[in-house]
């Protein structure tokens, strides 16, 4: 009688097909096919695709908290950037004496700003494993503290969205300052290599692309496990009627804190995979607009579906790459229009349209009405 298993053969076949395309087919088309062939994947496309995969992990992390727990975080770009900065700091330390000033200890911007010694928070970043741990710990601990304060005080709905915007805005301003010790406006750049591999070589870039693909696969499986567990149902329940979940004896604060922190860790990992592929991390990654864009990816793809988040991140960024070079002046109008259109006409996104088509076939059962703007309705209920 229980619902059909989310881990059935149908799922694994679909997962394996996607994995083969991303992890086997694309690298083969890049490395083993003659560049003149029409199916060849040119080298310049590899980091671009890798970047999309990082965005997909980021979208997945937002969908986990927004689509399932109803927490519309408009500050996920901050967790992404924090992870990215941790990776950037490692990459800066790897430059060594190859910098413009040739200082073996201090990165170029510190020499320029007349630092006498390495600030304490840069210590240890020459070790990859230490940096990798902080990639997860910094956004995780930050989200844990921020979330604890917010969820314990029962801040929900639009109020939570606003304070997450304020959080990323505050970090944006802070990271612009030269005295923060993170390179100020220019951020961290001029990276040379990562764990001994030259970042400018196509094979290293392919390796980073593969790491992103594997990361996306693991993140997806993890999110799918959580959303299909009993905790996943607790999250859906509290998304719709938070107070009722409390009266059942569940700690809403702990459940939210758990997914929010985990989601921030995933966003941090996405940022860390992103930085070596684009070659720079600067405060613009903290800009409030960036975080809103993530929410647009998720809503276009279809929130509360996981696959939709990945799809949305890919499609919107594909459109962005194309339009910002073809017609840069209209891109923001398109992005805004897309958000209004999905909210008004397709509240369940692209995936929702497909499901609707499947259900409207004769003989099929109609699904329950989709929950609209969960964050807002949740807030209204809490106020009532």
């Amino acid at each position: 009688m229980g619902a059909r298993s989310p881990w059935g053969p149908k799922f694994w076949v679909g997962f394996a097909v996607c994995a083969v395309v991303l992890v086997v087919l694309l690298p083969v088309l890049n490395r083993a096919v003659a560049p003149s062939s029409p199916v060849a994947v040119p080298d310049y496309l590899v980091p671009l695709l890798g970047k999309y995969l990082c965005y997909a992990i980021l979208a997945l992390s937002l969908d986990l908290v927004w689509g399932y727990a109803g927490i519309l975080s408009l500050g996920h770009g901050a967790f992404f950037a924090l992870g990215g900065y941790c990776m950037g700091m490692y990459l800066m330390r790897q430059i060594g004496t190859r910098g413009v000033y040739g200082n073996p200890l201090l990165p170029d911007f510190m020499v320029f700003l007349q630092y006498k010694e390495l600030p304490w928070f840069w210590w240890g970043f020459d070790h990859f494993l230490y940096a990798a741990a902080l990639v997860m710990l910094v956004p995780g601990v930050f989200a844990l503290i921020f979330g604890w304060l917010a969820f314990r005080s029962r801040v929900t709905g639009v109020y939570l969205s606003i304070i997450t915007q304020a959080m990323t805005y505050a970090l944006w301003l802070a990271f612009f300052r030269n005295d923060m010790g993170f390179g100020g406006n220019n951020g961290l750049t001029d990276f040379k290599d990562i764990i001994g591999f030259d970042l400018h070589r196509p094979t290293t870039r392919l390796g980073l692309y593969l790491a992103s693909a594997v990361g996306l696969g693991i993140a997806y499986l993890l999110c799918r496990f959580i959303t299909n567990s009993k905790l996943g149902r607790v999250l859906l329940a509290l998304r719709d009627t938070e107070s009722r979940v409390r009266f059942l004896g569940y700690s809403v604060t702990n459940a939210k804190l758990f997914v929010f922190t985990l989601s921030a860790v995933l966003a941090g990992i996405a940022g860390a995979l992103y930085v070596p592929q684009v070659g720079i991390i600067n405060p613009s990654e903290f800009s409030p607009g960036n975080s809103i864009e993530i929410a647009i990816w998720v809503s276009v793809g279809g929130r509360g579906t996981l696959v939709g988040a990945i799809l949305g991140a890919g499609l919107v960024n594909l459109a962005k790459t194309w339009l910002t070079s073809a017609a840069p002046e209209i891109w923001l109008f398109i992005l805004g229009g897309l958000f209004i259109l999905t909210t008004l006409v397709f509240p369940r996104g692209i995936l929702g349209i497909f499901r609707q088509l499947r259900w409207t076939r004769p003989g099929a059962k109609s699904p329950a009405a989709p929950p609209l703007a969960v964050g807002e309705s949740g807030a209204a209920k809490e106020q009532a």
Partner: protein, 255 residues
């Protein structure tokens, strides 16, 4: 009845409410309310709108903190110091005035969440639906008459069915004290009768407090009645006793 005349809580007392006052912007929703409910009792609470019935439930379940007064469960557990989740885990369940089930979950999943089980976030993540738990959910589905609807989203149920599902969720959690806020509001006559039978059936092995407007329903439960008025107890006793009470007739039944 005032606080001084109340006996001190003994082993038999399940819920002890003494001199509780709650005010909202100067309006006293509860005014020195005192109430004792014994273990195994079925109690109905009636009163006109604004008498403080729902506020009383809010205080007992931890949703509202009283300005003054004490609320004890099982003699020594001070409920005013606990939050909703902790109180729920003590075995106090509540059914809201409006049916609140999780509309986007199926009937089965609603009961699964209500199942008496660990509530920890980590344990919930790795929870498995054992055959034993499955059987308990199936038994509850039978008892509330929703076995056919098991896989339907709860949002598609009728009003009466939602009320039963909510009662089923309290039932499956093995609560010792159930607070039912207007369980037959908006029900048809037949649904009301079925609900009365269900409550009497449930009352055999647990303590239940029912807040209700519908006098026919209160009479059909045949339990001890407490009448609230302006935040305090006006009268208490059998249905006949309170119906013949002059003050009650004046403020509530009088017409």
């Amino acid at each position: 009845m005032n606080a001084a005349s109340l006996p001190h809580p003994t082993g038999d007392v399940l819920l002890y409410v003494n001199g509780v006052t709650v005010s909202f912007d100067g309006f006293k929703a509860l005014n020195e309310l005192s109430l004792v409910v014994e273990e195994g009792e079925l109690r109905t609470i009636i009163g006109p709108n604004g008498a403080g019935k729902t506020t009383m439930m809010d205080v007992v379940t931890g949703k509202t903190r009283p300005d003054s007064g004490e609320v004890f469960f099982r003699g020594n557990t001070d409920l005013t110091r606990l939050d909703e989740a902790a109180i729920a885990n003590l075995g106090i369940g509540r059914k809201f005035q409006r049916p609140t089930v999780f509309e986007n979950l199926t009937v089965f999943e609603n009961l699964e969440l209500a199942l008496a089980d660990s509530r920890g976030t980590w344990r919930t993540l790795f929870a498995r639906l054992t055959p034993e738990r499955h059987a308990r959910i199936a038994a509850a589905l039978e008892r509330i008459g929703l076995a056919e609807e098991s896989q339907k989203p709860a949002g598609t149920l009728s009003h009466g069915q939602k009320q039963w599902l909510e009662i089923g969720m309290l039932l499956i959690h093995d609560r010792q004290l159930l607070l039912l806020d207007e369980p037959v509001a908006g029900m048809t006559d037949r649904e009301t009768e079925e609900t009365a039978a269900l409550i009497l059936d449930l009352a055999r092995d647990r303590t239940i407090i029912v807040v209700e407007h519908d006098m026919a329903f209160v009479r059909s439960l045949g339990a001890r009645v407490t009448v609230l008025h302006e935040g305090s107890v006006l009268a208490e006793g059998s249905v006949e006793h309170v119906q013949n009470h002059p003050r009650v007739i004046e403020v509530y039944l009088g017409r």
